[in-house]
Point group: C3
Chain length 253, copies 3
């Protein structure tokens, strides 16, 4: 079996490491961890951070993933293939994520979340406990998904973001709010109520201004900005781009 | 003496390490550091980061504390027992904190702060230099306590938060502002003036909307949300819970 | 040649390390890196993080710089002398910065940026790709410079901040916006249009309220707050302070 494990990495005997896995210097992999083939882990990472809250469930990192330096993953979460992280990321227990999940630098995924396929978060995004995120969702820098309707309390209510939702920089979604499919939340908004699909949502507190699909590209009023999948496909697999080209939005994975 | 110090940790000869202390791999403890009994330090931490601004004062970590990975503490700060941090925390010099201080992941405590007992900050909270925080205060994700009334300047004016104050997500408190006892600052607010006790504070700039004690639990109008200590006691010591049950809010420690 | 390289640092043979350089424990320096004389690198840093996007360009750190712990610099960026960072900083490829650049803790410089001389960012500042920043600019905690006018897209439009601009806490500048010389952006603002020089800018969305030079110091209405260089010079080199004293604002470096 071919692997590239740095001599200054510390890998527990119980960890299950796939083929063609690279592990960088000063990284610790605990016992209760499974790493898929072709995955690359940078230095200074700690994988499978022990917690009783995982109730014994392993940390599973799917194949062909990239975890960048100084990142911490607790045991008890499960990532499908193609996970990519920035640096200095923390991910807690009992989160389940689909294919191609991207977590930006300084990302904070607080656990007990359900995350669909090809969700992309940019830097400094906080995904609160119990969040539920559909497929093809984008979270831009500084976005915060909250969960406590009566802070402090223990009755956490996660946010629900439907497929294709885009949340622009520094927007905050309050506990229990559901954002409908294909909606766009504008920069700096504070969303305190459910919103139907295809909404342009903006303000503090946020209101539905119009259909998201009424928005045009800045600089060219002939091109609709949303649904974004009709104009932006970089980085998605060919089989998904083909389904989008055939006007399918409920993609088969 | 029983200790559990990882062979890849680097502990200076001058550091004073208590009994039953655990120190993880790749952690550096400098000379001018005292760590209390029963404390656990994860990997990749640097404790007692040297600075002339500490004027020779040591870093003191009280007993039964937990410092999570990738955290940096400067020399010259003093934490009472039961400190708990998330990951990737930085704490500068000359901060004094009481019992049970919790600092969330990506916390940034900028030094010269006075922090009471049982203060809890969640992730990505920035506590500016010269902040003064009472007992039982909560700071939710993304909260920022500022200090420079004329940026840039050297005449810093810290924020003062009284006992039992709750600051919700992403609120910002401007320099020199005093928030009275038991007040609640709503999500995303920008507070630019002093507020009396028991205030519900909201907006940009923030206004006093009503008494905090007029707010009800979301989903049950029969239950007052504040003072929160009448409905939420998880994680506090029994002797405090008993005093609260006897309607004492000025708790004896 | 005198150097102080920790035995647990890992320095590639190809790296060019100047004289009187200090490198801390557990730091990795890759091949394509040049570090100037008198520079100090803390522990847990990774310098010259490889990326094909650098197209072979080296990471250059100027002389007399200080890089604090847990920081990551990609190859392909170039920093003039006197760079100073906080902890947990990430800097990507193809950024060029002048003398005395300061990056606060949790700073995120996303690459392809042009940054002038003596720019200072405080903690948790995000400088998006393609940002252009003049000389003597201040960015306070939580400031975000964005770049995507149609998220998600690939047609990034960076922000331009002119000389002496001050952006207060948590303000966000939207893509492609130009802020004129000496302007002040108030805390928590969202700036969505170009602003002329010497503007006081505030609000969501932000408006020009008056001249920045009309603002007085809080607590003393006799003293103008801006231009700040007339009242605040700490930390700048003598030859610059002299030019300011002679009422030169276009300083010769």
């Amino acid at each position: 079996m071919i692997r590239n494990i740095h001599p200054l990495a510390s890998i527990s005997q119980g960890a299950k490491i796939g083929q063609n896995v690279r592990i960088g210097p000063f990284t610790v992999v605990h016992d209760n961890v499974q790493i898929g083939d072709g995955t690359s882990i940078d230095g200074y990472c700690e994988l499978g951070y022990p917690t009783s809250l995982a109730e014994g469930a392993p940390l599973i990192i799917g194949k062909n993933s990239i975890i960048r330096s100084h990142s911490v993953f607790y045991e008890g979460s499960n990532f499908d293939e193609g996970l990519v992280t920035g640096h200095h990321v923390t991910v807690r227990e009992k989160t389940i994520a689909g294919k191609g999940f991207q977590i930006g630098t300084f990302g904070d995924i607080q656990g007990h979340c359900h995350i669909g396929h090809y969700v992309k978060t940019q830097s400094s995004v906080t995904v609160g406990q119990k969040s539920s995120i559909g497929n093809f969702v984008w979270l831009f820098p500084g976005v915060l998904l909250t969960n406590d309707p009566n802070p402090p309390s223990d009755n956490l209510l996660g946010v629900t973001l439907s497929d294709y939702v885009v949340v622009a920089v520094k927007a905050t979604i309050l506990p229990g709010v559901l954002i409908g499919k294909g909606s766009f939340v504008a920069a700096h908004s504070l969303v305190n109520q459910d919103m139907p699909e295809n909404s342009l949502i903006s303000g503090v507190p946020a209101k539905r201004l119009c259909n998201a699909s009424d928005m045009r590209i800045k600089g060219d009023i002939r091109i609709r900005a949303y649904p974004w999948r009709k104009r932006y496909v970089r980085g998605y697999p060919d089989y998904i781009i083909k389904q989008w080209a055939n006007d399918l939005d409920s993609v088969s994975f």
